[in-house]
Subunit: 410 residues, 2 copies
C-alpha cells in the first residue's frame, strides 16, 4: 500500500476540512479547552461510543444525531475540562445548546453537528462559556487549525495526538486525518477516549460505519492504560468526498480500509505512549488461540493487569504474572502448551525465549531484565491451540500514575 | 447467634488440631516459610481453588486429593517463598514429594495430606529444603503453634492473619479457627489467597463442601486488592468432629453456617486491610440490583477499579469514577435511578448523600473529602432496580503498591 505520512498532518489536512480552538475557561489552567472541526460540505459519518452503561449527555446526543443523520454531518464541537456526565436533564439541555451554538457558527442545522465532552464528571457545564468559545474557535478555524484543536481536547495528556496520511487509491489520492486524546481511563473495552478522524474520500455511510467499526476494533479496543472505561468515550469519522475519489469498488475499499486501520492504530499507540505516568510502551502479541477472539481476550487481560504493568515498571521479567493474567482471561488453556518470548527489536527480529511448554527455560536473568528495562519492548505469548492471533498495546503502571489519579480534580 | 472471638485464636484452637512452622530456607529473608496444620483424627474436608486456567502443581494435586478423599484428611502442609507454578512435570513431582514427606511426618498416607504453595512463579521447588522443614515443623507442632504457622505462609503480607471463634450449637460448643495470607493478587474472582480453616464440629463432607462454597462466595470472593488472580489460590476447611457436636439438623447447620461466613469475612477483611500498600479500608455496599448477582458484579467492578482506588488514595470524593465503574460491570443500568451515599460510621449511622437520580446533589465538597480521608469508610450505591444487594471490601491503590510490585522478586 502506497501510504505517506504527512509532516504536521492533522484532522484538518484532508481537503475541505478546517479546525479551530479557543480558551473558553472550562479548564482552570487557562489552556485551550474548546475545539471545532468542520467540513465545507456534507459528510457521511460514523461513530463508535462507550459501552459503559453510565453515559454522558453528549454520548446520548451523539448516538441520537447519527442514528437520524449519518449522511449530512458538517462538523464536530468538543470541549475539555467538563465531561457533562452525571448531570441529568440539565446536562442533556446543555449538550443540545452546545450543538445549537455550533450549528449557528457553522451555518447549518443542529442535526448536522456532533458534540464531544471530556473532563470532570458530575459538574454542570457552563453553556455560556462554551457558547463564547464556539464563536472564537469557529472564527479561528482554518486548514492550519488542527494542531490547536488537538491541544484543546487534552485532559491529563502531556502532548497532543494528531496525524494525517495520504494513500493512493485506484481513483486517485485521498487524505485521512485524525486527532485523539486519552491518557487515563483507557481500556480495551471500547474506544475509551475522544477521537475525531476525517477524510476527503467519498464513502457511503453504511460502508463507512462497517470499515470504522473494524478499524476501531483493531486499534482503540486493543489498548489499555488502567482498565477503566469512561462515560464519554467516542470516536468519530467524517468523510466529505472533497477529493472526488469514491471508495466503493472492492480494491479501493481494501486499500482505504488498511489506511484507516493504520491511522487508528497510530493514534491508539500515541495514547498508550502518553498513558498516565507511563514510562514504557509494550506490544503484546498473542498467537495460537483457537480463534482470534481467544487471542484478543488474553491480550487484553494481560494489557490491563496491574501486576504485569507494575512488573514492567520495575523492569522485572516476571513472566509468571503474564501467564497468570492469561489464565484468568476466561479462555480454556492447556498450560503445558504455553510459550513466551521477549524482544526489543522488530517483530521479525531475534527473540529471547523464556518459557516453553508452560515451563521456565534456563535463561540469563540479567539478559531478560535488560529487555524489560527498555522504553519499548515486545512480549509474545503462544497458546499452542490454533491460528487465532491478536496484538495489544499497553504501558507500565508507575508511581506517576498513582500521583496523577490521586490528585486529579482536587 | 452466640459467637465469641477467642483471644489469640488460631487454626490450632479447635480441639484436636495442632500447628507448627519452620524456616526451611525458601525465603531469602530467612523468615519462617513452612507450616503444618494437623488433626489427631480424620477430618472431612472441603476446598475452593483458583479459577485461573494456569494453575500451580499443588492446586492440581489438591483438587485430585480432595476428589479422591474428602473424608479422612489428616493435615495440610504449606510453604511460602516458591509457588511451584509453571514448573511442569518436575513441579508436580515436587508437590507429590512434599505430600509424601508430610504424610510420613504425620504418620498417615499421602492421600490424607493437602499441599499449598505460594511465592515466586516459575522456579523449581527445592524439595530437600521442604523435606527438612517438614521434619522440624511437625516436631514443633502444638496447640500453640497456630501463630507461627500463620507467619510461615506470609509473602508480602506485613502481618499474620489468624482468628478463632466459639459458637453455641444446639448440641454444644464448637470452635472454628483459621489463618490466611494475601496482600497482593487479591481479586474477587475466587479465593485469591491461601487460607486454612479448621473446626472441631462434625460435618458430613458433602454438607461441608456446600457450606464452605457459600461462605467463600460471601467473603474471599468479594474482596479486591488489584484485580489479579493467582495460579495458586486455595482455601481449605477441615472438620475433625473432636467436639463431639454434630452439625446436621437445620438449626445447627444454620448457626454453624453463619459462624463460618463470619470467620471467612473476618479473614477476608484482614487481607484487604493488609493489601499491598493499602492505607484505607473501604466497604462497598451495592443495593437495588434486579438480582443479587447484579449487585455483586457491580460491587466487584468498583472494588477493582484503579481509578476508584487511586481516588480513595487521594482522599478525593470523585464519585463519578464510582458510577463509571458501575457502568462497565456488564449490568444493564438506568443511570437516572442511581443514588450514592458515603459514611464513616456504622451501616445504620448517618450517611451523606452525594448523588440522587444519577445526578450530583448540592453538598459540601470539604465534608465529602473528610469522609474519603478517613482510614475506613463506606460507600453505598443504590441502583434503584430491585432488591438485589451485595457488600464488597477494597483498599486504596497507593504509591506503595507500585513500589512493592515493581520491586518484588528482583
Amino acid at each position: 500500500m502506497a501510504m505517506k505520512t504527512l509532516a504536521d498532518g492533522t484532522v484538518a489536512s484532508p481537503t475541505g476540512f478546517v479546525a479551530g480552538a479557543a480558551i473558553c475557561g472550562l479548564k482552570e489552567s487557562g489552556n485551550l479547552d474548546l475545539a471545532i472541526v468542520a467540513s465545507d460540505r456534507d459528510c457521511t459519518a460514523a461513530g463508535v461510543f462507550t459501552r459503559n452503561q453510565v453515559v454522558a449527555a453528549p454520548v446520548v446526543l451523539g448516538r441520537e444525531t447519527l442514528a437520524a443523520n449519518n449522511g449530512s454531518i458538517r462538523g464536530v464541537v468538543a470541549n475539555s475540562g467538563n465531561a457533562n456526565a452525571c448531570t441529568g436533564q440539565p446536562g442533556v439541555m446543555a449538550a443540545r445548546e452546545m450543538q445549537r451554538s455550533a450549528a449557528d457558527a457553522l451555518c447549518c442545522v443542529p442535526a448536522q453537528v456532533l458534540v464531544l465532552s471530556t473532563g470532570v464528571i458530575g459538574k454542570q457545564l457552563d453553556v455560556e462559556k462554551v457558547r463564547r468559545g464556539i464563536v472564537t474557535a469557529s472564527a479561528d478555524a482554518s486548514a492550519r487549525g488542527g494542531a490547536a484543536a488537538a491541544r484543546a481536547i487534552m485532559t491529563t495528556d502531556t502532548r497532543p495526538k494528531t496525524l494525517a496520511v495520504q494513500v493512493e487509491l485506484p481513483g486517485g489520492t485521498v487524505t485521512l486525518g485524525g486527532m485523539a486524546k486519552g491518557a487515563g481511563m483507557i481500556h480495551p473495552n471500547m474506544a475509551t477516549l475522544l477521537g475525531v478522524l476525517t477524510t476527503d474520500a467519498a464513502v457511503q455511510a453504511s460502508e463507512l460505519e462497517a470499515l470504522f467499526a473494524m478499524a476501531v476494533d483493531s486499534s482503540f479496543n486493543l489498548i489499555s492504560v488502567d482498565g477503566d472505561t469512561s462515560t464519554n468515550d467516542t470516536v468519530l469519522l467524517l468523510a466529505n468526498g472533497a477529493s472526488g475519489v469514491v471508495v466503493a469498488e472492492p480494491d479501493a475499499v481494501a486499500v482505504f480500509s488498511r489506511a484507516l486501520i493504520a491511522v487508528c492504530v497510530k493514534l491508539a499507540q500515541m495514547i498508550v505512549r502518553d498513558g498516565e505516568g507511563a514510562s514504557k510502551f509494550v506490544e503484546l502479541v498473542v498467537t495460537g488461540g483457537r480463534v482470534e477472539a481467544e487471542a484478543r481476550a488474553i491480550a487484553r487481560t494481560i494489557a490491563s493487569s496491574p501486576l504485569v504493568k507494575t512488573a514492567f515498571a520495575g523492569s522485572d521479567p516476571n513472566w509468571g504474572r503474564i501467564l497468570a493474567a492469561a489464565g484468568r482471561a476466561g479462555v480454556l488453556l492447556d498450560q503445558s502448551r504455553l510459550a513466551l518470548w521477549v524482544s526489543t527489536g522488530t517483530a521479525d527480529g531475534p527473540h529471547m525465549q523464556l518459557v516453553a511448554r508452560g515451563k521456565s527455560l534456563e535463561y540469563l536473568e540479567s539478559a531478560a531484565a535488560r529487555v524489560f528495562s527498555q522504553p519499548e519492548f515486545r512480549v509474545h505469548l503462544d497458546l499452542g491451540l490454533g491460528d487465532g492471533k491478536a496484538t495489544a498495546w499497553t504501558c507500565d503502571l508507575t508511581h506517576e500514575y498513582v500521583s496523577i489519579n490521586a490528585d486529579y480534580r482536587t
